[in-house]
């Protein structure tokens, strides 16, 4: 079968997956961890422990704070030292639970062995409950609570579960490594989610620049023999790992403006999420560990790592363990170079969705002086959502909210293709992101007003 990719836009940054050969190492425990209460999309979790309590690793320390929210568990055993606001990676205050590490004792009922459990429990509701209880969130970047995504609104039918192994961001290799080292667990996780969604088709999409992963996953699928799961090799193009792009690449369907993937019968989950689902359902292990990549263009290959970390480890601790911040690092980024955010505060801690510590040199991060738009249209060609970034940029500058909404700024996925391709180095994404936030705010307010009006009419 000919390799496919999404049809609109996209760019081809150098994939720079230097750390692909680094096997996953387990990080030793620090003395203290700080576990954030807002490590998922939606409402922050509410702490259920008090200062002075003894907790074990895997024990629930905070309950979901709303419908779209997730439970948070302790990643270590020890004593709760404080529950106080602390600065997160962007320097904003977020409630954290500080735990002093004492030993490494896990809560009862958690299976820490390596034995593969392939028998999938029969009860759909029980599986969903387990996923919810274990605080599993999407690990592809958005950290959307998985149990919400796996439970589509009544009336919508999932036709295809897409397991996202694209890992289209340059530099990152954490997903690649887990596909290589734990393929069977991922496949079992996919089979579990497939069952929850009503035995739909399941496609594991992997970009062709990771042939080892494709081979390893295909082998695992063949060995485990679950029906209806296939591995699909995709042409390399950024942002293939975007939900809507992956749906287009795999299913040749496009999600309409403002719609959810389920409207075209698709549910997309990351490979790391699939692994977390496996651990939650088969091993009863809450989501307290994940894999992150320590990489960058100013870091020699022998100093690059893929680490299995526990949530709440300070970034400074991980950086130090990995050999310190390299000389010549002009910027430290959490996430990929395209969509990641610069780390403003190295004392911030890892969260469920942490994927990397990326050290970039001055040459790779320096912004050139913005020039004038020459209407070359490269940004419009590159936009994977089919928007016109140069026009949105102009509208955003004057703040024309009606026109911005009419030109679908709310559909922007902030992938950065426009800014990447702009020959005039215009800050397209910076402006569009702000306009997007404002328009989304207006849409939300309007939806709330419409809901209130409908309720008033009912009465």
């Amino acid at each position: 079968m000919a390799k496919t990719t999404f049809r609109i836009g996209g760019v081809h940054p150098d994939d720079a997956k230097v750390s692909r050969g680094c096997a996953i190492e387990v990080l030793p425990l620090p003395q203290t961890v700080y576990i954030s209460m807002a490590q998922h999309l939606g409402a922050p979790a509410k702490p259920v422990v008090a200062v002075g309590d003894s907790v074990k690793a895997g024990q629930l320390i905070a309950e979901a704070g709303g419908f779209i929210s997730a439970n948070v568990h302790s990643s270590v055993s020890g004593k709760v030292k404080s529950i106080a606001p602390r600065k997160d990676i962007a320097g904003n205050n977020v409630l954290h639970v500080e735990i002093t590490v004492e030993g490494d004792e896990w809560a009862e009922g958690i299976d820490l062995s390596d034995t593969l459990v392939t028998e999938i429990p029969g009860d759909r509701a029980a599986i969903l409950d387990r996923i919810k209880a274990c605080g599993v969130v999407g690990l592809g970047g958005a950290t959307f609570p998985t149990h919400v995504k796996l439970n589509p609104a009544p009336g919508s039918v999932a036709e295809c579960l897409i397991i996202n192994g694209a890992e289209c961001e340059p530099y990152l290799t954490s997903d690649f490594r887990i596909m290589l080292e734990r393929p069977k667990e991922i496949v079992v996780g996919a089979a579990i989610m497939k069952k929850v969604l009503g035995d739909c088709r399941c496609v594991i999409g992997i970009e062709e620049n990771k042939p080892e992963a494709i081979e390893s996953m295909s082998k695992a699928v063949a060995e485990l023999g679950y029906p209806g799961i296939e591995v699909l090799s995709l042409k390399k193009k950024y942002p293939q790992g975007g939900e809507k792009q992956l749906i287009d690449a795999v299913m040749r369907r496009q999600v309409k403006s403002g719609g959810l993937p389920i409207s075209v019968g698709a549910v997309v989950q990351n490979v790391a999420t699939s692994l977390a689902v496996y651990e939650a359902v088969q091993k009863n292990k809450p989501l307290v560990t994940n894999v992150m990549t320590i990489t960058g263009d100013c870091l020699p290959v022998e100093k690059q790592h893929n680490y299995q970390f526990r949530i709440g480890m300070p970034l400074s601790y991980i950086a130090e363990y990995a050999g310190g911040v390299p000389e010549g690092a002009a910027k430290i980024i959490s996430g990929g170079p395209m969509m990641g955010r610069a780390v403003a505060n190295m004392d911030a801690c890892t969260v469920k969705g942490s994927s990397s510590l990326l050290y970039l040199s001055e040459g790779a991060t320096k912004r050139s002086e913005p020039g004038n738009c020459i209407r070359c249209g490269r940004c419009a060609d590159a936009c994977p959502m089919g928007l016109e970034p140069f026009f949105l940029f102009k509208l955003a500058k004057v703040g024309d909210m009606d026109q911005l909404e009419a030109n679908a700024v709310q559909d922007c996925i902030s992938c950065g293709c426009c800014q990447f391709s702009c020959p005039a180095f215009l800050p397209l994404l910076d402006q569009i992101n702000i306009a997007k936030g404002q328009v989304l705010g207006i849409l939300k307010a309007r939806a709330a007003a419409a809901k209130a009006a409908a309720e008033a009419a009912k009465k």
Partner: protein
């Protein structure tokens, strides 16, 4: 040849007259009846079209003023009482005098007071910076220093001080239109009374917006308000309230005695337009910051330089 010229002139003249006639009748038929007072009011307006009054421009303000039953809800901040009196005279309304206002920057996080913890190399706009993260200092409330307010000011009243990295308000040019207060993503610019009375230009304000606990705020910025409440205790006029670890001076109650200025341990309270007198002689407050200013400070200490943020 002559004939051609004559015919051309005749035809053009006749055409011109006919078209003029058509235009005359059209103008009469489709004439929009407009209150002549709108034009009159518009003439006395400053004509800046800044939108500080809340209307799209001076004509929109005039239109609304003519249609409104009174002038209570309308005020032109740029023209002030003088213009409002003229408007009231044209429309035959009464107008309440409003105290003149001026923009005040409630942050004293200069480069010296507030050390940088990281460097920002993104797009130089406060709006963009605020959307990305908490800023390049330890304070998540103070000035971001990219000058969105300067760009928003139509009257040239704001400028960035290269030494402190903070905006400076030129009180003589500021019209209190409020454009800067809207442009600031941190909402640190406030419109305050120019003085306690129309003739008096004394004013006292807290030059800090940090709502964090004292220790955290002080760690981020030497001149931060730590919410100790000493100023509120010393105030005889009940003008100071401390909420969320931040002191606020109500300018409608403040009599500008300046006692709080001496009491403040961090120098977060700024005075403008006068030399405060101490009630009881005390040793000079240690924490009065010799805030770095572009021009050498006047000899009369401890009054800070008069253009100091307002």
């Amino acid at each position: 040849m002559t004939q051609t010229i004559i015919w051309t002139i005749v035809i053009i003249s006749v055409l011109g007259m006919l078209l003029a006639l058509v235009l005359f009748f059209i103008a009469k038929k489709f004439k929009v009846e407009e209150d002549p007072r709108i034009d009159e009011v518009e003439k006395v307006m400053p004509g800046a079209n800044c939108g500080g009054c809340g209307f799209a421009g001076c004509r929109a303000f005039a239109d609304a003023a003519v249609k409104a039953p009174n002038l209570d809800s309308q005020f032109c901040p740029v023209g002030g009482n003088d213009v409002m009196k003229k408007v009231a005279a044209i429309l035959g309304y009464e107008v309440k005098e409003k105290a003149p206002m001026v923009a005040v920057v409630r942050c004293n996080g200069s480069c010296e007071n507030r050390p940088r913890t990281n460097s920002y190399d993104g797009y130089p706009s406060c709006k963009v910076k605020a959307a990305l993260y908490s800023g390049d200092t330890g304070c998540a409330f103070g000035c971001l220093g990219c000058g969105d307010c300067v760009a928003a000011c139509q009257f040239g009243a704001l400028s960035m001080d290269p030494v402190t990295g903070l905006p400076v308000v030129d009180g003589t040019k500021c019209t209190a239109c409020g454009a800067c207060t809207k442009a600031c993503p941190r909402h640190i610019i406030e419109l305050r009374n120019v003085g306690t009375t129309p003739k008096n230009t004394r004013r006292v304000y807290v030059a800090c917006s940090n709502k964090e606990k004292g220790g955290v705020a002080r760690k981020a910025c030497k001149a931060a308000c730590i919410g100790c409440g000493k100023c509120a205790k010393v105030c005889k006029f009940d003008a100071i309230t401390v909420a969320d670890n931040l002191s606020y001076i109500d300018y409608s109650k403040c009599k500008a005695c300046g006692q709080c200025f001496f009491e403040c341990p961090t120098g977060a309270i700024h005075v403008f337009g006068f030399e405060p007198k101490k009630v009881e002689p005390k040793p000079a407050p240690a924490a009065v910051p010799a805030a770095p200013k572009p021009a050498p400070a006047p000899a009369a200490e401890p009054v800070k330089k008069e253009v100091d943020n307002g």
